[in-house]
Symmetry: C2
Amino acid sequence: MARRPQSKDLVLMFDRPQEPIFMPKGDDGNIAFDIPTELLGNRINTDMGIVDRLGASQADEHISVGSIAIPDLSIPQLLSRDQNFSLFIPLHRRAAARLIEIFMGMRNIEDLISMCAACRERVNPYLFNYALSVAILHRPDTRNLQIPPLFESFPDKFVDGAIFGKARQETEIFQSGSRQPLEIPMDYTASDLDIEHRLAYFREDLGINLHHWHWHLVYPFSGPRNLVDKNRRGELFYYMHQQIMARYNFERLCNKLGRVIRFLNWRDPIPEGYFPKLDSLVASRVWPPRHANALLRCNREVDQLRVDIQDCERWRDRMFEAIHLGSIVLPDGKRQNLTEEGGIDILGNIMEASILSPNQNLYGDLHNLIHVLIGLCHDPDARNLETFSTIGDPATAMRDPIFYRLHAFVDDVFQEHKATLPPYETNRLNYNGITVRGVDVVSQGVPRNEFKTFWKKDDVDLSRGIDFTPRGNVFARFTHLQHTEFTYRIQVENNTNSDKIGTVRIFLAPKFDERGVNMVFRDQRLLFIELDKFTTTLKPKTNTIERKSTDSSVTIPFERTFRDLQSNRPSGGTQLEAFNFCGCGWPHHMLIPKGTPEGFSCQLFVMISNYDDDKINQSTEGACADAASYCGIRDKLYPDKRSMGYPFDRVPRSGVNTLQDFLTPNMFVQNVTIRFSGQTFDVQGADITNALT
Amino acid sequence: MARRPQSKDLVLMFDRPQEPIFMPKGDDGNIAFDIPTELLGNRINTDMGIVDRLGASQADEHISVGSIAIPDLSIPQLLSRDQNFSLFIPLHRRAAARLIEIFMGMRNIEDLISMCAACRERVNPYLFNYALSVAILHRPDTRNLQIPPLFESFPDKFVDGAIFGKARQETEIFQSGSRQPLEIPMDYTASDLDIEHRLAYFREDLGINLHHWHWHLVYPFSGPRNLVDKNRRGELFYYMHQQIMARYNFERLCNKLGRVIRFLNWRDPIPEGYFPKLDSLVASRVWPPRHANALLRCNREVDQLRVDIQDCERWRDRMFEAIHLGSIVLPDGKRQNLTEEGGIDILGNIMEASILSPNQNLYGDLHNLIHVLIGLCHDPDARNLETFSTIGDPATAMRDPIFYRLHAFVDDVFQEHKATLPPYETNRLNYNGITVRGVDVVSQGVPRNEFKTFWKKDDVDLSRGIDFTPRGNVFARFTHLQHTEFTYRIQVENNTNSDKIGTVRIFLAPKFDERGVNMVFRDQRLLFIELDKFTTTLKPKTNTIERKSTDSSVTIPFERTFRDLQSNRPSGGTQLEAFNFCGCGWPHHMLIPKGTPEGFSCQLFVMISNYDDDKINQSTEGACADAASYCGIRDKLYPDKRSMGYPFDRVPRSGVNTLQDFLTPNMFVQNVTIRFSGQTFDVQGADITNALT
């Protein structure tokens, strides 16, 4: 059966990215593209018998792809098919921008599919994936499509490279159905001799890295301006990464490690080494390791990259100068103030730097190029023909301990700006007439005000990312942190005579610092991680608000992070629409930090702010807002008028030394504990702790 | 057709080392082992349908393997299946020794094949290859078998890792016959920004690395004593490596680089980095790189390895003390002299160290453990779970520039001993009545006394080393140095009245040093590379000896280095017998150094020594002596009674400052030139130089 292409066929373009386009696609290899010979590579179109032999003719469903004139691909082809692709490298950005333009310019779905077929055979597979993903996200006729999680097309960016040889064996020897999942050990990158390895479960978490990749896909810093220029994107760059830092530092304290030391002096050797043990299937290389005590330097003609530390220092110093003067210098020499409302957005774009940065000549390209500097320090002049390390790709950057040291510096610059802003006085915190009387966390089988955490095993399918293997799933089994679902129960008194609308803001922070001493507010505010934010209506008198942990405004459900296209293929339009933006979001299983076996003391902070001061007048009906706090809402304004991170984004008003000092009646603090149970649960949810020991 | 196992079936055990034993073997997959279920792994023997499905039932020829009791494999299994195996690591040596014992202990071929089938499923594939190779070399009933070159089973140790993804694509998409050879670029490990890269064509040459692996296979330093204790093996360790150093330094001078700087201070950072870009298919990892300026340290509990630089320094100092005192201390406290004849053999065994080392408590395990120290310096305490780098495996060690710096030190120790020996006075050099009157090098189309060198492309088959791909060859095309074949024409006068037998010794050295100044003999003697050595009968009066370059006593023919099992399967017994020992030998295409485009000035030295003082009374009829100078002859004495390297292995007699001073009438020096033509010839021998530029 042959039929015309439909938009949903685009997702098949992501399957097994290094196989020829005409090879059978889909899980069972039951669907195939019929490609006009002129779109195929030269060697193949002289022998079309190949197409039959490789199984396409046995597919039940055939998609007739029309011909199309192949455009000039010289810019996208600046990147060869077996190079690694990084948006941080300006040359690669140009290649991506051109390919996105090509895809965006196609008149209709049929042309787009023809163009994809032609390009898929001719450009770098990872570049193809990126450009097509961005195009699908932004084209009016494809935006409702669900892009498969990057993990499915490029599992090599997410799991131990050693798994692929095993997966190949498993699929070749055993038939689909009798294959066993391949266990990825928890400790494959390092041992406990490396104290940083205690955080590997966080840094190497699949969901966290998928979130980071997806966030940068939704918020590209480069490309056509209308794709980049999203509401408060500079501020969100600051806030999303600030929250990553808060979460990472929180986890460090749980693991008896001090907070991250900012990476300030770029001339010092970097004591942290990192050996990612990831393959790059595209490059047939591995991601290069960084040895301990590496020095930064980068002058690579081959990549047209010369990054001098002196340049970076000048950009940094100019940023600090702008912050301390309260204004930046524009290209025409005039100054623009860094206002309380908009300053952080400008600084976010300057720091990252996105193409929205108002004066890149002066303020440079600091964050991206330090990623590059670190990512290439093992081969600074390219004499060894090495590509960048994991820090050079948003899909892998968060694996490396240096990512957090770099972002501790980045966040520090933002905080320097925040320190120049007026503190929130009580009138900007309080909600007259609203008093929070009590907060509890309740969870079945867990003591009140305790979070329970444990290890959980789950499977993800590798089969769409491994070329030339027999069809059918082959699963990797990984172990991740998880927590027992819980409910917030919040007692609120409305002392007015009318219904009031409030925004409930829930945060969590450690109670004690590294020395076991109560935190001072100035430090603790930076460690508050956002757990949830939602709107509620408060009737007069007593209200009890119940809110489930799974409804969190920062996370997406586990199933969405690791969506299995087979079992979970949405059928309706709304669901489809929902998916892509929702692909962005903190993985729900990492909502709660690990805690400790003895119980880690935390403070749960709940505030109800006046919705009149929070609200954005827009309809978000049908829009996916699942993880809006970290990801925004597609094509909408950021759904909270306050500064991101409110009320913790400023230094406190005078006289506030502790969290208790900070409270106004519409706030409440509950002491809670995170207890890591030490248990491991298998895929079906059975406790297998004893079987493991 | 099913038949009983024969000894020749053993070589099929080397095919595609990670596929299950029952999968079809041989080039066309037309032969298969029928394995009793109890020898298979548990998952497979419960579903014998797998065996059929994977094609074994379609094989034309079936080998009925008998059952056998599986012995205790706990020692060989100390190495897991996906670990990398290194004889330098004592724990791995134990595993290998046990497996060799098991194979050596089998009563007959049928039992050996059953045992191989069982072990192949259960032990590390590289360990299996090594142990079976050693067993085949040493068992009386298998020694005539030809072991496939390691390249065929483990191509990943020899060629750019990027080739394997391409080879998989090529074999999946194109059928045998229409596949194109996959080109391995000459410069895939580094660029000319790294001056050491100028020598990559030497260090990364397939034949050179195969020679080194094969040499260490023939001369293991550990294992059952009767396998180790070969005639003059310690001296040969010295001489073979001395010649490697001479050849490498010679090549360096051709490339306008100074001679190797000895690696003396092991506490200094190592400026040379090396990024091998080799996969380890067994470990599903790559060979780790060494960054520039690495420091040595090694304390890895996981490998039961603690190597202190202080220990190494003590061993080194004790060796020097023994050399300068002229005797070593034995375990019973007595001293043994380092005699002119036997001293170097003892020192070779002490230095390496082989199990023949007479007092390892005192003199340690220096050379092997410095290999280990360097090989693990990127992860000295194993915190990063990294395996050793290329220097840790004889099959890959010669790729790394540090190999030569280490062996420059090793050789220096030996030379220190040689300096204590009496110089050869003229009576030990001269051959009364014999005068060499002239020497010429002649070669078709090349000026007299010129060597012509160029690049040549050739193909090697990867298919036996890539698991789970469609059958049929897939070739890697590599580019190597080659020279035009030539003939030595030597004019000799015999002024006696009777036939005389002489040993013709031919050496080549650079004429000028790094500064372009004539070499002094003390330095030049260390750069003389042996080109040939053979016995000749000189009739009275004038004799003209003609000798072809292809008959060299240091090299093996190109076809033997890269033997294609298909096209070159020896049929007769003698040929079979010949192969294995002959697998050892300097690759013929590297006989002559590269030279320079303008012509590199060298001195060709020819000497005819008195056979009465050279000869060993033994029959070498039928024994392979092709590369006897570097490899010895199997089960025979080393075929030259003189000290290896004679006459250049001593400091010269007093008064000798130049090569000319050194000459006695039975010697002759001819000025010759090596001219690198800059041409590249394709596989068929056509000049494609212009097509490339």
